[in-house]
Each structure stands twice: as C-alpha cells, then as structure tokens.
C-alpha cells in the first residue's frame, strides 16, 4: 500500500508508479461543509507543484485547489462532477478529484500522515 502525502492547503496525494491521485482531506471537507460544485481541469493541463488546478465550492465558501505535485492531468473524477457530495462522504476514496502523470520526484516537501495530523492538531 502506497503512502498518502499531504499539503498544508489540505490536499492529499497518493502515488502509484508515475500516476498520482489527488483529493482533499477529511479535515478540509468538514471545514467546507456541503460541497455543491467543483471546477476541475481538462486532461493534458500541465501543473507545477503548488499550481491552482480548480475550485471547490461549498454552501459557505469557494476555495482554490492546489496541486501537491508537478505533472500532466490525465483525468478529473467524472463521478464527483455529477455528485459533489461524494467529496463529503468519502474524501479519501470515491471523492478523489484528479489523476496526474508525474514529472519526476513526487513527494518532496510534502507532509506524511503523522506530519499532517500534527499540523491539523495545531490548527484546532
């Protein structure tokens, strides 16, 4: 089982070979409240680590999404576009947002699970 890595802007990334799956954390979905809309990129969009790749809109806020890694967008999750509430129901699973083909090193500078947990604990 591959490890999941995290950003301080509350995205997660799971790497399998040169494919990275990206979503938002359970803490993020809980803070946002009911997600009502997602604006996600089209395939082939090139992303640098830290680039804004879309917008997530909940009943109380609209927030930008930032890519934890550099790569090229393979696809956006077709299911969440139709059912944004999946991000609330299963943020680490069926509520994933995009898949990216990595350019080189994936996880440098990201938080591991324990690092993210203690970061979130510091926010509360």
């Amino acid at each position: 089982m591959a490890d999941r890595y995290y950003t301080e802007s509350h995205e997660w990334v799971l790497v399998d070979g040169d494919i990275a799956t990206i979503g938002i954390t359970d803490f993020a979905q809980a803070q946002l409240g009911d997600v009502v809309f997602l604006e996600l990129p089209a395939p082939d969009k090139a992303l640098e680590a830290g680039d804004n790749f879309g917008v997530i809109e909940s009943v109380k806020a609209a927030s930008d999404l930032y890519s934890p890694v550099a790569g090229t967008v393979l696809e956006a999750n077709p299911e969440v576009s139709q059912r944004p509430e999946l991000v609330n129901a299963d943020p680490l699973g069926r509520g994933w947002l995009i898949k990216v083909r990595l350019n080189g090193e994936a996880t440098a500078g990201l938080l591991d699970e324990m690092g993210y947990e203690s970061y979130v604990a510091g926010l509360q």
Binding site: F37, S58, K60, A62, D64
Partner: protein, 420 residues
C-alpha cells in the same frame, strides 16, 4: 463651532480646498421670495431651445423611444424606488421577483441561458464581460473587432488597465486571446457578420462577446443562436429616458457553463419549507465577499430601478410589440436613408452595407452649413469623425418610432436647402 476648531470663518475652514474648486460668488440678488425666484428661473429656462422628440435623429448609444405610461406607474411605487434594495429573501420577495423577471426577460431576448440582476450600463457590462473572459480562459488579451462604441472602448481600457488585460484593436487571434468583442449593430449602425466573428473566436479557443442592441433582437438572430458565449448591452431603449446619458441599465448574459464566472448579483427561484415558490440571491460564492480577490468582479450592486423599468417595458410590449417597434424604426430609417442620399452632396458612407435603424452618411460640409439644422429645431447627424479620424465628414442618423413621417419630411427638406 468655528472657534472651537480654531478657524475664524468658513473660508478659513476650507483653506485646504483649492480655490478653483470652490463655488465662486454667484451674484444673487438678496431677499427674493420663492415665488419670485421660480418665476425668474422659469423665464430663463423658457429661453432654452428644446428639440422636439420627433425631430431628434441622433442615436450613437442612446435612443429616443416611446415610453408607455405603465413604466413610470410601476417604477414610481415607493416600494421600488426607495433608497436601497433589500436583499434578504424574507423581507423583499417583490424586489427579488422583479429582478428574477428581468433576468428571465434578458435571457429570453438574448437567447442565452442566464442573465444577472443588471449592471450600471452598456459600457461597464462590456468591460465586465472582458474580465469574465480572461478569468474563464486564463488568457490576458481581448481583441475588439470592428467599431464598438468609442466610450465603451474607453471604459474597457480603464477596467483592463487595473487587471493587466491588454486591449487590442487589430491583429490576429492567438493563444493569448481571451475574447473577441464585437458590437451588433456596430457604432455606425451597420450589421457585423456576428456568426463569423463568433466562429473565429472559438477556433482560437477564445470566447465570443456580443454587445447587442436589445430592440434589434426582435429582428436579428440573438447571440445565443449564433453561439456567442457572453451577451451584453445597454438597456436604455427599454423604457428609460435619455437623461443626459444616465442612469441607464447594463445587462450581461452567458451560457450555463460560465455562470459561476458571471459577475454581480443573481436571483434564483426556490421553494420554501412549505413548498411555495419564492426568490433568493443564489450562487453568491462567485462574489467578492466570499470569493475575495479570485472573484470575477468587485461589482456587488446593480441598477434595480432601471432594470425594473426595462422589465415593465418588455412585459408591456410583448414579443409582438417589440417587433413592431423594431420594424417601424427600421422601415422609417431605410426610407430616410434613401431620401437623404437623393440630396446632392450626400452619399452612403458604406454603400451596400446592411443596417437597421441607424446609418452613416458622408455629407458635404457646405450642405450641412446651409441646412442649419439646429436653428430649425432638428437634431440630426452625429459627427463620428470626432472619434474615428478615418471617418471625417461622416455623420450618423437614426430613426425610431418617435420620428413620424412629417418629421422625416422636415429633415429631408432642410438638408436639401439651396446652398447659399
């Protein structure tokens, strides 16, 4: 109080206001009664030369049209015209419903999926559309195709400067182009090939922004039909007086996919807890109080009372009435154009180019001088060379339903006056 502030007089207090900005001595007589003052001012006002509506043949962005009494009957209700628009749904169903109806009417007229609650005027609506296009595409140039209203272009440049958007008036479309912006009919009244401009924008991955005349849409294809992404325009012709150029009302409408980038207020229809129809602001996460600096625009207000006038006008006229207004205007304008071109020294500036109810003519200056239109009480011939150096000697004329056949005769006879 002056003493407490350490000032000896009012002038002393206002010392920081530059003298050129202060009110000069008015030289008013002392001790006149209100009655005497009104009489004197009325006598002065009577010396103004006021052009009769029927003898006004100048358009150029604002147009004299018949305004049914029903418009003022509704807009003068204090529930609508009092100071501020209450947006709380529990307090203001009437206001919200009137905005919703305006949005619906504009969407139907333009053939687009959604329209907002209105903007200030046509010029700011155009500038908002340009910003919207740059946010949607992530590109930072807009290409203005053809002759849009020169004052709209100025407003567009003002907005663009603050957002780092480059406004180009010529050149090719490319991968930096966010939008192709055109006006239909153009500033001279001539028809553009809107479908072709839209197609060219889309081929370059840019949005097509159509700035349209709402009355013209009773006759021309609406922007939604030829695939424009954003439609904007000035709504003055829909029941609003000229009023020295404002306040009027701008409109903006778009395709559904772009709705989250639409600037400004948006009213939606919903059901309350008991399943009854109601109205509320919706999709507010687009707006700057939530989206902050990532919002398309910092606009968070609209011209509700003017929008209400437009809604009443459109509802009162209906599709048939609106078509009649457009047809009568176009028929009279074409008759006028033909007759004026029969006057020696007057020719079509762009022969063969189709138009609706405004058109450009090239006129011998001697001819205009001899006609002395202003002295005859006729307001006609907008000198478009003021804005376009290549159009020196070109004047635009317009006809609407207020220009009756006898008024048209008067203009033709005046312009045909013998040269001295």
């Amino acid at each position: 109080m002056l003493g407490r502030l350490g000032a000896e007089s009012i002038d002393d207090l206002l010392v920081d206001v530059p003298p050129r900005l202060r009110l000069p001595a008015l030289g008013l007589p002392a001790g006149r009664s209100e009655f005497e003052t009104v009489a004197q001012i009325s006598a002065l006002a009577a010396r103004n030369r006021v052009f009769a509506d029927r003898l006004c043949f100048i358009g150029g962005g604002v147009y004299r049209r018949f305004i049914p009494a029903a418009v003022a009957a509704v807009t003068s209700k204090p529930e609508f015209y009092t100071a501020y628009t209450p947006y709380q749904p529990e307090a203001s169903q009437g206001t919200l419903q009137s905005i919703y109806e305006f949005q619906t009417l504009i969407a139907q007229l333009t053939g687009m999926d959604a329209a907002n609650a209105s903007l200030y005027d046509g010029a700011t609506a155009l500038a908002e559309a340009a910003m919207m296009a740059t946010v949607v595409t992530g590109r930072h140039e807009v290409l203005v195709a053809g002759r849009i209203h020169p004052e709209y272009l100025e407003v567009l440049r003002t907005y663009a400067g603050g957002r780092g958007i480059l406004v180009r008036e010529q050149g090719e479309l490319g991968e930096l182009t966010a939008a192709v912006i055109f006006q239909q009919p153009d500033f001279l009244g001539l028809l553009e090939n809107a479908p072709e401009l839209t197609e060219r924008a889309h081929q370059a991955g840019a949005l097509a922004v159509a700035c349209v005349d709402p009355i013209s849409l009773a006759l021309l294809a609406p922007p939604g039909q030829y695939g424009a992404d954003i439609a904007v325009g000035e709504g003055q012709q829909l029941g609003l007086a000229l009023s020295y150029g404002g306040p009027h009302v701008g409109f903006i409408a778009c395709r559904e996919e772009l709705i989250r980038r639409l600037p400004g207020r948006l009213v939606g229809q919903a059901l309350d807890g008991r399943g009854r129809r109601g109205f509320t602001l919706t999709l507010t996460a687009r707006e700057q109080h939530i989206r902050r600096e990532k919002a398309t625009s910092n606009i968070c207000t609209n011209h509700s009372l003017c929008a209400l006038a437009a809604s009443v006008y459109l509802t009162y006229m209906g599709p048939d009435g609106l078509r009649q207004v457009a047809e009568v205007s176009a028929t009279r304008a074409h008759a006028l154009a033909e007759r004026l071109q029969g006057v020696p020294g007057v020719t079509a500036a762009f022969p063969g180019r189709p138009f609706l109810y405004e058109f450009p003519l090239r006129i011998d200056p001697e001819r205009l001088r001899a006609a002395d239109l202003n002295r005859r009480g006729i307001l006609a011939g907008l000198d478009v060379g003021r804005w376009y150096p290549d159009l020196e000697g070109v004047y635009t004329f317009c006809c609407t339903e207020v220009n009756d056949p006898a008024a048209i005769d008067e203009l033709v006879v005046a312009l045909g006056s013998p040269l001295s």
